[in-house]
């Protein structure tokens, strides 16, 4: 294939964000879209994530995004023509402190006001939702049955395949090394395989997005943190039907449809070294959490552990906007651990913004200028 020197839109990063943005732009009629990926499709944070999808959030923006994303996931297999592995068995939030339970209930009121039917459940109900749960020390639970999880690989591949059918080109092993700007406008990119001139460049580089922003001369205080996660051998389903999640307990655990159980937590020390290694400390800590919470998983073998980058912002909400000082340079980053679940909705909203339409959910407050103004909308519900 000869090198393509021009495009209408270049998207940097082929995780769920990049693939969703490219697909949505193509669906809205953009003809000449190129997606650059420095590794393989879904090899970054999307392919390493915990796969959860939820509307149980603590800020109005995230609730709106979460609810809209759940709705998207519910019909994604029809829209994209491929199964995305959706499993809607809910998120069961576990609070171990009174203050935490108060916060969950406060968030629940907000969620209810936005049409998210989260409810408080008793320990007995929690055990019906998750048989074998041991959480005598918990003070309360909330549950939303439309939450759940999907397959990040299938979802991203579904977007890619649907995009390809609409003419989107995907270039793997092609790393963006510079963003060209001329007189306050983006002019294209330089990559490890050549230049592409384009009037629109989208930064969807996940854990590495801050480097892309800097290339364009856009400084945003987002940063990447390594989080670890593990998966067990498959056992018959029913061991952990919902996503079990606790902020003070510091865990999220879910069982994949094929029977493997995935679990992760927030790391100690919040390492920001871009190393994607594994640690004994995490293996031991997470294993203890599994057995404490789901005693019958004792003896089930861990078959794999890995890590990935959370692209964090100061308020743990995304950056989804056009750069002020570089017109045509758009950002979709800083998802703070929730980029996979928001992918279907943020991709559509950014495509609308790029095409000069009014995004159907207002995203003005997700502009990075909020950090300079100090108008932070801190999301409390993050593991």
């Amino acid at each position: 294939m000869s090198w393509k020197r021009t495009a209408d839109v270049v998207v940097i990063g082929a995780g769920v964000q990049g693939c969703s943005i490219a697909y949505n732009l193509a669906k809205m009629g953009v003809k000449d879209i190129v997606v650059l990926e420095k590794g393989t499709i879904c090899s970054g944070s999307t392919g390493r994530c915990g796969a959860g999808i939820r509307a149980q959030w603590g800020t109005e923006m995230n609730c709106r995004f979460g609810l809209a994303a759940v709705g998207k996931f519910e019909q994604l297999h029809e829209e994209l023509g491929m199964d995305c592995g959706l499993n809607q068995s809910g998120y069961l939030m576990v609070a171990y402190k009174d203050s935490e339970f108060e916060q969950l209930q406060k968030s629940m009121k907000l969620q209810n006001s936005l049409g998210i039917n989260t409810r408080v459940v008793t320990y007995d109900e929690a055990k019906e939702i998750c048989p074998g749960l041991a959480a005598e020390d918990a003070v309360g639970f909330t549950f939303h049955d439309r939450d759940g999880h999907a397959d990040p690989f299938l979802t991203t591949f579904a977007y890619m395949e649907a995009g390809k059918r609409l003419g989107v080109k995907f270039l793997r092993f092609t790393e963006a090394t510079d963003v060209k700007t001329v007189a306050g406008r983006v002019a294209g990119i330089v990559s490890s395989r050549g230049d592409i001139d384009a009037p629109v460049v989208v930064n969807a580089a996940g854990g590495y997005s801050q480097f892309i922003s800097k290339m364009a001369g856009v400084e945003i205080p987002n940063f990447s943190e390594r989080h670890e996660i593990l998966i067990t051998e498959p056992v018959e389903p029913g061991v952990c039907p919902p996503m079990l999640m606790s902020f003070s307990g510091n865990y999220y655990i879910q069982q994949r449809p094929h029977g493997s159980i995935i679990g992760g937590c927030s790391p100690e020390g919040h390492p920001q070294d871009y190393e994607l290694g594994n640690s004994w400390d995490f293996l031991e800590m997470m294993s203890r959490t599994f057995v404490r919470l789901l005693p019958r998983t004792k003896g089930v073998r861990v078959v794999r552990q890995w890590s990935g980058l959370y692209n964090m912002t100061p308020d743990r909400q995304p950056v989804l906007c056009e750069a002020d000082n570089v017109k045509g340079f758009f950002l979709s980053c800083g998802y703070s651990g929730h980029g996979f679940m928001f992918g279907p909705i943020s991709g559509e909203l950014l495509a609308q913004l790029i095409l000069g339409q009014e995004p159907w959910i207002p995203i003005g407050m997700l502009h990075y200028s909020r950090f300079e103004r100090g108008e932070l909308l801190i999301e409390p519900a993050v593991v």
């Binding site: 074998g132 051998e233 498959p234 056992v235 018959e236 061991v239 005693p295 019958r296 004792k298 003896g299």
Partner: protein, 108 residues
């Protein structure tokens, strides 16, 4: 009892432990204590140890060093036991594993 075990080895010397009784899918069998469960089953003529979850194909002895998952069986109620590297003890309840293995609710 059919004895399909090596009696003499050209370079290794070995002694069997004492004979113990165990059950396979409810049938009483005999084997040598401390030898792999899978070896004891082999000596008793048992060749099928589990049935795979999706295609329901039979599996038996394969790698014999605890790596391949082929000999997963349910032992004393615990699924996914690598019988090729798990020593036989007296009174063990060994069962063919069908599917992925159900982890019991009352496991402590």
């Amino acid at each position: 009892m059919i004895m399909d075990l090596i009696e003499k080895h050209p370079i290794l010397e070995f002694k069997h432990g004492k004979k113990v009784k165990f059950t396979f899918d409810g049938n009483e069998m005999e084997g040598y204590e401390g030898e792999p469960i899978a070896a004891a089953l082999h000596a008793n003529g048992v060749r099928i140890y589990r049935v795979t979850p999706v295609k329901e194909q039979t599996r038996g002895f394969f790698c014999a060093i605890g790596k391949c998952s082929s000999c997963f069986m349910v032992v004393d109620g615990v699924p996914n036991v690598r019988t090729c590297v798990t020593p036989l003890k007296t009174g063990m309840r060994v069962e063919t594993q069908r599917g992925k293995g159900v982890i019991a609710m009352d496991a402590e």
